[in-house]
């Protein structure tokens, strides 16, 4: 019983210490990240990118900010930057959404951007209509 009380008391102390010793910027980081997300939801992508960059100043390996910034760069057509940030996000976060984003990004680049080099191309498409 005595031991149980000790454990509870020490756990509480641990919680208090963790809260106290947690980095002072964690709240700011979280708020900034969410502010960026809100801005992106409203179509304010420059503002969103600015916020996510701020998150990365506080925590350079923040997988969420790295992923979100990669999306912002992809939207801007800055595909090299997008790739760099997706790759960093993959290292920093194992979230399936990041893998999914990166896979779609790679496919998109292969299909569309790779074709943009000026040279002779041949493309064919086939379409059928009416009874098979």
């Amino acid at each position: 019983m005595n031991l149980a009380l000790k454990i509870v008391r020490r756990t509480l102390v641990a919680v208090w210490l963790t809260a106290l010793l947690a980095p002072a910027h964690s709240d700011e980081l979280e708020d900034t990240l969410q502010f960026g997300n809100l801005a992106a939801k409203r179509g304010l992508w420059s503002e969103a990118a600015f916020r996510w960059k701020r998150v990365l100043q506080l925590d350079p390996n923040n997988g969420r900010a790295l992923n979100n910034l990669a999306v912002a760069y992809e939207r801007e057509g800055k595909f090299e930057e997008a790739r760099r940030y997706y790759e960093a996000a993959l290292k920093a976060s194992g979230a399936p959404e990041v893998r999914d984003n990166f896979e779609k990004f790679r496919q998109f680049i292969q299909q569309r951007v790779a074709k943009s080099t000026p040279q002779t191309q041949t493309q064919t498409q086939t379409q059928t209509q009416g009874p098979p």
Partner: protein
């Protein structure tokens, strides 16, 4: 010790919570680079096109080869032609439709409607009479021709079309005649035609007369004979499908993508 373990556990719980934070999908619109660097061009001149039937070159070669061996073949086959005439040739279907002019008019209207380029509104230079594809590599011809049009980007090329009978037996799913809701697979004969267009596009720099980009686009559609199509409607159907690819050569296409943002 217990405090340390507890703090580690709590830290892990907090980290897991952060990692498991949600995500939401956003739709982004991004622009892909044009296939030609367009900074230097504001004007585009849609030049004249060459036109013909797909397979004409092969047919001509086959005809020449047949002409050479005709005496021997004629003796062997008793004077009868070696090749059976197709039921409806491409030439019979397309008749006298002026594909060269139709292609040019179509491209003029579409480029004017779907790009920010200034489409030059004057008659293009006449292609040399009887000339072949070598004209598209004649830098002197194009640079001289373009001098009258403020050195625009020139789009020219060759259009070839074909149609062929692809009728045959096909399997179809039908409801049974007693209307029991069952689906049956039946084999039926269907009369169908396949139509093909092949566009060889050449983009030429008006200043130098050099080709800056070329691309071959091909499209094939299949229609039932019940559709009762005119050659012009077939041409427009095929062009409508490949036009976005042509536009994307000179005007950055906007692509809509879906991505996850992490919360």
């Amino acid at each position: 010790m217990i405090a340390r373990i507890s703090s580690v556990v709590l830290g892990l719980v907090l980290l897991t919570g952060a990692a498991a934070a949600g995500s939401f999908t956003v739709t982004i619109e991004t622009q892909v680079k044009t296939k030609i660097e367009m900074e230097q061009y504001k004007d585009i001149l849609v030049g004249n096109f060459l036109a013909g039937m797909l397979g004409d070159q092969e047919d001509e070669e086959a005809a020449r080869a047949a002409a050479k061996s005709q005496p021997a073949d004629a003796e062997q086959s008793g004077g009868k032609p070696a090749k059976a005439k197709p039921e409806r040739s491409s030439k019979q279907f397309y008749g006298s439709l002026d594909f060269a002019n139709e292609t040019r008019q179509y491209l003029l209207e579409e480029l004017r409607a779907n790009t920010a380029l200034n489409v030059v509104d004057s008659d293009p230079p006449e292609l040399p009479a009887g000339g072949g594809e070598e004209v598209f590599e004649d830098t002197q011809f194009w640079s001289e021709a373009a001098a009258n049009y403020q050195d625009p980007l020139i789009l020219t090329g060759r259009t070839r079309v074909a149609s062929k009978d692809v009728s045959g037996f096909v399997q179809e799913q039908v409801r049974d005649r007693y209307n029991t809701g069952r689906e049956l697979t039946v084999t039926r004969f269907r009369k169908r035609y396949s139509y093909t267009i092949q566009l060889d596009l050449y983009f030429i720099d008006g200043r130098s007369g050099d080709q800056v980009y070329s691309e071959q686009l091909q499209n094939e559609i299949t229609r039932s004979e019940l559709d009762d199509l005119s050659p012009l409607s077939v041409f427009y159907s095929m062009m409508d499908e490949i036009m976005p690819q042509i536009t994307s050569i000179v005007s950055p296409p906007t692509v809509v993508l879906e991505r996850y943002l992490l919360e």
